[in-house]
Each structure stands twice: as structure tokens, then as C-alpha cells.
């Protein structure tokens, strides 16, 4: 391809994954996974525990070799050119990968030295990041004195020290309080506005919905959906009304009564009844009125936003998650 052609093309993807597979002994963690991530966007890798999200990240960050297929970061193959790839990426893992004996500032300096950022720049960058992650006050205390949320923030800050063009965040908000989570979301948006490409894994549909312009859902190592979050959501009833009818028999009767009033038939699971509503909680009053008039008042009522489980039910007809005995 000539230079002119290259420029005429739309931008090449920042991350390309093609036919990627990973087996650990007899366990298949990833099976022929394909996706592309456009530069300067947030890409969400969504799936339950053990779906293969972390395995994909570990292959893309050169920590694990794939069993088959191909993965490229900014055009560099992770197997052929691991050293080049390592120079282009930042990784914040599932557990806060910081040294607890080092202070926050020392942790950032260590990463700066190991990513070969110039010393004078590391100092500024560390101060900058500590400020941004609201760690300035704790900057010179050993990380062992930090709260869980502070450690997670320090971990993400460490990933940003070399200012990597591609950032991998493996469940970055797991275990964060809502305030820290919102702050991190805000930061991710800023990074992307500045041109960084972010691949994040999450178990929360809401997180993908908030941040990602593209979402791939994986389950048991396979891609089961590749869509925009909006389209994914529109494929399900938006709100779930859950009723505990006390007995399976009453649940079945209630399901019969309520059939037809919703976008999907009511879901019965033992004594529990699930209704998917596109109008939020509005149908609730009507539902309760109908049930009451048939002497079927529910034991408990819950209204919640759709969870990843609902996506899975929708996509596969089965609850997501580990089969017993599988390894993550």
C-alpha cells in the first residue's frame, strides 16, 4: 500500500484481534475471538467472571502468548514484536498492581524509570497524576496505608505514567465507591478526548453504556455480540420488574394473567417472576392492581435496571458465567 492510499483509507484500527484462541490444558479460555478497536475510542469487553476478558487483555499486553490467531496493537503483532507493543501500552489490572512498601510517588517514579521516561519528565508527570487522582495528600505515604479505592487509583495512575497511546483497563472500577468510579469515568473520557485508545473490561452493562462506543460481549471465550451499547440495550426490555410470588404455582398463574402486556413474555423462575418493561417502572401500578384483583399480591417487588445477566438471557437464553470447575 502506498503512502497516498494509506492516507485515503479510514484510520487503521488501534487494536486488531483475529481468530484469537487460548487454551490452558483442556480448558478453552478464548475461542476464535475477532474484534477491532478504532483509535481514540473506548471499547468495552463485556462478560461475566471467567468469560475470558482478562485472558484477552493479558494476550494483548504480551503477558500471555496466544494458542492461535493474531493480535496487533497499533499494527504491531503482540507475538512478533512484544517489546514494541510494551512501549505503546499501559495496563491497569484487576488487582491493584502497586508496591505497598513504596509511597504513591515512588510507585509512579518506579514505573517511569521502567518505561524509560526521562527523569525530569517523570517528576512532573508523577506530580500531575497524583493531583489528578486526588492522591497528592497521600503521595508520600507508603501505599500500604492507602484504602482500596486509593490503591486502585494509584494503579491506574501508574499505567498512565508513560502516557501510552493505548490503555488497557481490566475491570477498573470493580471495588470502587460510586464517587471514585465517576471520577475514573470522567478521566477516561478526558483521555479519549485527547486521542488515547482505551480497551476496558467490565461486568457492568452500565459502565460499558457510559463509556464505550463499541461493545463486544464474550461468554465462555466466545463473542456473542458485537454492537454499540445503545443497540445492545434496545435489544432488551430496558427495566426489569421482579416479583416474588411466594410459590411457583402462584408465579405461573400471575404469568398467565400478565402475558401480552409486555414486550416479552414474563419470565418465571420458581416462585419469581420477571417482567421486562420499556417504560421504566410505569407498568408497576397496573401490574399490582391486576394481581391484587386476582388475590395474587406478590411477597416482594423489585424494580431494577437491566444487568449483564439480562443481556445474557437475551443473547443466549442462558445465564452467563462460569460452568462449575472452569478456570478464569
Amino acid at each position: 500500500m502506498t503512502q497516498a492510499q494509506a492516507q485515503a483509507q479510514p484510520q487503521a484500527p488501534a487494536i486488531t484481534v483475529h481468530g484469537l484462541s487460548k487454551r490452558f490444558g483442556s480448558v478453552t479460555a478464548l475461542e476464535s475471538v475477532d474484534f477491532e478497536v478504532q483509535p481514540g475510542t473506548v471499547f468495552g469487553l463485556l462478560g461475566p467472571n471467567g468469560a475470558g476478558k482478562s485472558t484477552a487483555i493479558r494476550i494483548l499486553t504480551t503477558i500471555l502468548p496466544p494458542s492461535g490467531g493474531r493480535a496487533e496493537v497499533l499494527g504491531h503483532d503482540v507475538v512478533q514484536k512484544p517489546a514494541t507493543v510494551r512501549g505503546l501500552i499501559g495496563l491497569a489490572g484487576q488487582y491493584a498492581a502497586v508496591d505497598k512498601n513504596l509511597t504513591g510517588r515512588e510507585n509512579l517514579r518506579l514505573i517511569g524509570r521502567l518505561t524509560h521516561v526521562r527523569r525530569s519528565r517523570v517528576r512532573r508527570r508523577a506530580a500531575d497524576l497524583l493531583e489528578r487522582f486526588e492522591l497528592t495528600g497521600a503521595a508520600d505515604r507508603p501505599a500500604r496505608t492507602y484504602s482500596g479505592g486509593m490503591r486502585r487509583r494509584l494503579d491506574v495512575a501508574a499505567a498512565l505514567v508513560p502516557d501510552p497511546p493505548v490503555l488497557f483497563l481490566d475491570e477498573p472500577t470493580t471495588g470502587l465507591d460510586p464517587q471514585s468510579r465517576n471520577a475514573l469515568w470522567h478521566l477516561i473520557r478526558e483521555l479519549v478526548a485527547d486521542g488515547t485508545t482505551v480497551l476496558l473490561t467490565t461486568q457492568y452493562l452500565e459502565e460499558a453504556d457510559q463509556l464505550a462506543s463499541r461493545v463486544v460481549v464474550i461468554d465462555h471465550g466466545q463473542v456473542i455480540a458485537d454492537d454499540t451499547p445503545a443497540l445492545l440495550k434496545s435489544r432488551m426490555g430496558s427495566t426489569v420488574i421482579e416479583l416474588d410470588m411466594v410459590s411457583a404455582d402462584r408465579a405461573a398463574r400471575a404469568a398467565g394473567l400478565l402475558h401480552g402486556g409486555f414486550s416479552e413474555p414474563p419470565r418465571v423462575d420458581g416462585s419469581r417472576l420477571g417482567l421486562a418493561s420499556r417504560e421504566g417502572s410505569r407498568p408497576l401500578l397496573e401490574v399490582l392492581r391486576v394481581l391484587e384483583s386476582h388475590d395474587l399480591a406478590p411477597g416482594t417487588v423489585a424494580v431494577r435496571e437491566p444487568s449483564l445477566d439480562d443481556v445474557f438471557l437475551q443473547l443466549t437464553g442462558l445465564p452467563g458465567g462460569d460452568p462449575p470447575g472452569s478456570t478464569p
Binding site: 487503521a12 498492581a97 513504596l102 518505561t115 502516557d163 497511546p165 485527547d194
Partner: protein
Amino acid sequence: MTETARLHRDGGPTGSADPREPLTGSAPRLVRTAQDGLAVAWRNLIGLRRVPRLLVFSTIQPLVFVLMFRYVFGGVVSPALHGVSYVDFLIPGIFVQTAVFGAMNTAIGLATDMQTGLMERFRSLPMARSAVLVGRTTADLVRNVFVVALMTGVGFAIGFRIHAGILSFLGGVLLVVAFGFAMSWIFAVVGMAVGDPETAQAAAFPVLAPLVFASAAFVPVNTMPGWLQAFAEHQPVSRTADAVRVLVLGGPVVSDVWQALAWDAGIVAVFAPLGVRLYRRAV
């Protein structure tokens, strides 16, 4: 977000050869490997300073040994030494023993790191693949210098004297430190192979004990049965202890010192590449 960092973005995947150029220094590969190793050593030494109980306990143990051997076994061993005082015989052996036991910390330290996410992060960084191990063994080397200095002080307090000149003595100390460094590489491999600190400790002891006790570290080997003597005479702890002894007490130096150094070089040549291999594959 700042200016320089963005330069490489414009190039995109087909852009310039080294997009990190504007940010990073450009040192030759060997220098960079050394810098990476030193950065990790710096991190480990900070840890040692912040968790001083580790240093305290790894210092108390040789202290107990030196007092116990001096006063419990000294009377029995002395007659076999033909005029050399037992404390002068003992201290070089204690130095070597300290270096060997200290190497256990290398295994424990690496195994501990492997249980945290830190090792994963290191493996995703553009640092030398040997840096984590070099950093650990180098930090343990620094710790050994400290402990040997302390042991020397204790030795002086209980009657140990230098008989062959201060330079020769310092040569002996260097030999101990070099041996400790070599042993650290063995235990780096143990730590990487087992992957958790408790197992590392349990796995290290059966390797350590015969090396330290079936040796010339505390007693002359000529009292041992013949089959054991053959091992005890030639194994690295004995070779090093004897070499340190001639450097401290005086005597023909050259052959002993070369044998000790040959062991050190041999051990590093085998175990360093093995350790790096394990690091590359560690999951």
C-alpha cells in the same frame, strides 16, 4: 494532557519507527538493562528499609549461630584446629552461612512478588526481562554487605582477629558477597518455580541445610566419614569458607580463591538464564 506525548498518535500504526522517541532517553541496550535492574533494586531496598523486621530477623539468626557455635561447640572443635583459635576459624564460616541463608530471602521476595499484580505489570512494561531478577539479587547483595559488616563487629567483640592484613580481609568480604550473589540466583530460580512465599521457604531449607552443615563452614571436614568428606570438601560453601579463611588468617591464597570464584561464575552462568526463562513464562 501534554504536547510531546501526542506526537506519536498522528503517525498511527504506520507511523515512525519508534513513536516513544520524544519521551525517552536513548541508551544502549546493555546500559538500559542495567538501569532497569537498578530501578527494581532501588524498589526492593526501599521495601527492606520500610519493613525493617525482615532485616532484623535475618540478622538475629546469624548472631544466634555465632554465639552458639563459639560457646557451645568451640571447646570440642578447637583441638582439631592445630593452634588456630576456633573463633577465627568460625567467623569466615559464619559469613558464608549468612550469605547462604540470606539467599532464602531472594526466593521469598520473588515468590511474594509473584502473588501480587505487580509481576503482571512488570511483564507488560518495556523493561529488560532480566530486570526483576537482577533487581532482587542486587538488593540482596546490598543487604549481605550490611549483614557481613555487622557480623564482623560481633566477631571482634567475641575475640575474632584479622591475621592477614586489612586488604586481604576486605578481599574475603568481597568473596562472601560474590558467593551470596551466586546463591541468590539459585534461590531466584526456586522462588520463580514455586511461586508462593511459604512454599519457597519450605523448599529452600532442604537445599540450604546440607550445603551449610555438610561443609567446612563450622568444623574441619576431616572428622567426617569418607563418603561425606568427598562432598563436603568440594562443595561451594566449603570452597568459599576455606578461601575466605586463607584471606583472613593468611596462607597460600590463589588456588582457594579461584576455586571459590569458579563456583560463583558457574552458578550464575547456569541459574541466571534459567531464572529469566522462568520469568518469561511465569503466568
